[in-house]
């Protein structure tokens, strides 16, 4: 088995290496040549993602993933187009590193390659008119202006097998839906989403490299000889009656002092992609525990804005800054409360989340982008707050009523912008950190290599601190054609 894996690794490096050395047009021309349809446009990539854990006593392979991606767009005429994105990957890390031997066969199969339903990443038809653009099929919809943090961006669920280390584009799980985008004013219009599909967030099982602390605690509890856990998943059916509905008004102000201001007003009737846990016990031995994972039906009201300061407020003061922000009021949600690791019960909760972002270029080509995020959770039901707190879902640790976070990303470039270093810093109150330097190099038009580090610091009950022993170094090689 190990020999096969080694061979697989060598082959994947050779394929990507040879492809990278090939002239830019060779593969593209070959694809064009074998493509029998004039109106069909094809593109794709091969990618290797390798990550190695570097934390003390937890060093070892975290990922050895090869990705194949093929996109196609068939333009029937000026108004109708069909688009698809097929994405398949295989992560050999489970064969390479024996630390993962304890993971069940079923869980391994999901960690090793995508489930069949996810291989078709996008698949939709576009009907484009001056008045309305319709997009029907499997797709993503992204709301909001914040980077890397979900405030309004709640339409698609997330695949959190690597926590949020990857770009959000690779984290989102596509859904079957109808999207209608109308033009009402010159720059604005209404977006309507009808989503009969439902998928929960994907969380890696206990034992996987980025298993959430709450998952690990749950697995430990279930393994106890003193309890017998029965789990019930309560989630919406994929029917029209259980459809999620989204509405977004978006416009850009063209005149007056707010000229250039883009704003949206959003409403989403949906089901929380992160399940809420309801626990009940009964007398007996082992103690029978009924665990219901409920997808709460929630209402999201919110809005966003973005504005560049194109003219100095006084002289050139303020010029060149871009301000952005978003706000979401999430009604009818639910959260667990209790003590660290222990769920006592579940209460209805309203959440008020917002973010403000500021972007500017300094010193010729140094881009700074910073964000302040505040998340407020208010229980609608009473519980003994001297003994208990709300619990943070991913860690099952105590959650403050107000959580604050600051992000800073600094990036620049060298060698005619082929070499691009960047550094992302995330700080959460309670001294929770993630530090992520990265450098990428464009070898040629088709080949990009990137390397970086992810360091986590903090308490195990906090968002980043739970991965304190999962610090990693990573290398990515991507050949696109």
């Amino acid at each position: 088995m190990r020999l096969k894996v080694l061979l697989g690794l060598i082959i994947s490096f050779v394929i990507i290496g040879v492809a990278g050395l090939a002239r830019a047009e060779v593969i593209g021309n070959f694809v064009d040549k074998i493509n029998p349809f004039e109106k069909l446009e094809l593109a794709g990539y091969l990618k290797n993602e390798t990550a190695f854990g570097i934390a003390k006593e937890n060093d070892g392979w975290q990922k050895f993933k090869n990705v194949f991606d093929l996109k196609g767009n068939y333009k029937l005429n000026d108004s109708v187009e069909f688009y698809t994105d097929i994405n398949y990957w295989y992560d050999s890390v489970l064969e390479i590193d024996d630390r993962y031997d304890s993971i069940s066969k079923k869980d391994k199969s999901v960690l090793r390659r995508p489930e069949d339903k996810y291989i078709l990443k996008e698949f939709y038809v576009d009907v484009l008119t001056d008045a309305v653009d319709l997009r029907a099929g499997k797709q993503y919809v992204v709301w909001g202006t914040t980077d890397g943090v979900r405030i309004l961006d709640l339409v698609n669920p997330l695949d959190l097998r690597e926590w949020t280390l990857k770009e959000f584009s690779d984290l989102r799980i596509p859904l079957w839906m109808l999207k209608a985008e109308s033009s009402i004013t010159k720059n604005g219009g209404l977006q309507l989403l009808v989503i009969p599909d439902y998928e929960p967030n994907y969380y890696p099982p206990a034992g996987a490299p980025f298993a959430l602390r709450s998952t690990v605690i749950g697995a430990e509890s279930a393994a106890s000889p003193f309890v017998s856990v029965r789990t019930i998943d309560n989630k919406p059916e994929r029917t029209l009656e259980d459809s999620k509905i989204g509405l977004r008004w978006r416009d850009v102000v063209e005149t007056g002092m707010f000229s250039g201001l883009e704003y949206t007003l959003n409403y989403l009737h949906t089901y929380d992609s992160a399940a809420t846990y309801y626990v009940s016990t009964a007398p007996g031995f082992p103690v029978p525990i009924k665990l219901t994972r409920n997808a709460e039906q929630i209402e999201v009201w919110g809005g966003s804005f973005a504005k560049s300061i194109t003219k100095g407020l006084v002289g050139d003061f303020g010029k060149g800054w871009t301000l952005r922000g978003e706000f979401a009021y999430i009604a009818n949600g639910a959260m667990n409360y209790g003590t660290d690791r222990n769920i006592v019960s579940t209460v209805d909760v309203d959440q008020y989340n917002y973010a403000l972002g500021f972007d500017k270029t300094f010193l010729t080509n140094w881009q700074f982008s910073t964000q302040f995020i505040q998340m407020i959770a208010k229980s609608k039901e009473d519980f003994d707050d001297n003994k208990y707190t709300l619990l943070f879902g991913p860690t099952r640790g105590p959650l403050d009523e107000i959580e604050n976070m600051i992000t800073l990303k600094v990036s620049t470039d060298f060698i005619h912008e082929r070499l691009k270093p960047e550094c992302l810093i995330l700080y959460g109150d309670d001294n929770d950190w993630r530090l992520a330097p990265k450098i990428s190099f464009e070898v040629n038009d088709n080949l990009i290599v990137a390397a970086g580090l992810n360091f986590f610091f903090g308490k195990e009950t906090q968002m980043n601190g739970q991965f304190d022993d999962s610090d990693q170094v990573f290398l990515e090689t991507k050949y696109s054609w």
Partner: protein, 294 residues
């Protein structure tokens, strides 16, 4: 990413900022004998930003980045522009979509350029991989555009009034060897020669010598000098007249910018261009950006 956007904005006609000019929109002007340096430069900016047409479509643009050792990278894009003539203070709007290479395919940029010379552009960026529109802020004027040999101001923010102008004389252009094809261009072409000195000091150049083609009003050649008076960069533009009917549209078909210190150069070829094709302002919205895929 932002610089890629700014670069793309520049690539096609070096689009950018409205000029503080008294020239009328939608009219074609040509320089004449006896004009002052300021009058000639106003026409040059009018042409540079193609304010003589109601709209513009570029169906193919190819950009080459060439290193001294011959290593070359390539990008392709399409573009549309509508000139609004100052309606609501907007001079013109642009949409540019990258079509090659695959790693940047589908990236689309919407820009509003204002009449007010003190005001920066508003720019929106559609990032297909993120399925998201980002509002981005202006870059620094002396920054390079995505590794090209053009600076931000050369391609999008320099306007009439950022320099003082002196007419040096009228000369025949000695010719420029366009390295991309090896052809010698514009040899013996009658030109106005103008010395332009930046109002900012210190700045990355101390002066530039601008050669304006008398026939098109386009600046065919710029020579950039550093603080020591040494030539460090040249910028060549090939202008031709596009005449689908009775109107003469000056258009830039090719550009070549050379950094004489590093030997690196950037070549831009504009192909399949058309003016006054009847574009709607609704083509220049976020909804249209989101149609871009990949």
């Amino acid at each position: 990413m932002k610089k890629l956007v700014l670069f793309m904005l520049s690539v096609f006609f070096i689009s950018g900022v409205a000029l503080a000019s008294e020239l009328e929109y939608y009219k074609v002007y040509k320089p004449k004998e006896g004009m002052t340096a300021d009058e000639i430069m106003q026409i040059k900016y009018h042409n540079k930003y193609s304010l003589f047409g109601h709209d513009y479509r570029l169906s193919k643009c190819t950009i080459f980045y060439v290193e001294k050792n011959g290593f070359t990278q390539k990008k392709e894009a399409i573009r549309e522009r509508i000139v609004l003539g100052g309606k609501n203070g907007v001079s013109y709007k642009d949409v540019i979509v990258l079509t090659e290479p695959t790693q940047a395919k589908g990236l689309a940029i919407l820009t509003w350029t204002y009449e007010d010379p003190a005001r920066d552009q508003d720019t929106w960026l559609w990032i297909p991989s993120l399925k998201k529109i980002r509002k981005i802020s202006a870059s620094e004027s002396d920054d390079s555009f995505m590794g090209s040999d053009f600076t931000v101001e050369e391609v999008s923010t320099r306007k009439f009034g950022d320099e003082t102008y002196k007419l040096i004389g009228e000369k025949e252009f000695p010719g420029y060897k366009f390295e991309h094809t090896g052809e010698v261009k514009y040899k013996g072409t009658p030109c106005f020669v103008i010395e332009a000195t930046p109002t900012k000091s210190p700045w990355y150049y101390s002066k530039r010598i601008v050669w304006i083609d008398k026939a098109t009003g386009g600046n065919i050649f710029d020579e950039y000098y550093d603080a020591n008076g040494k030539l460090f960069k040249t910028l060549f533009r090939e202008w031709n007249i596009y005449k689908p009917g009775t109107k003469d549209y000056p258009k830039q078909d090719a550009l070549e910018c050379k950094d004489l210190r590093s030997g690196h150069r950037t070549v831009i070829l504009n192909q399949e261009e058309a003016y006054d094709v009847g574009l709607s302002e609704r083509n220049f919205t976020e909804k249209m950006l989101e149609r871009s895929k990949w």
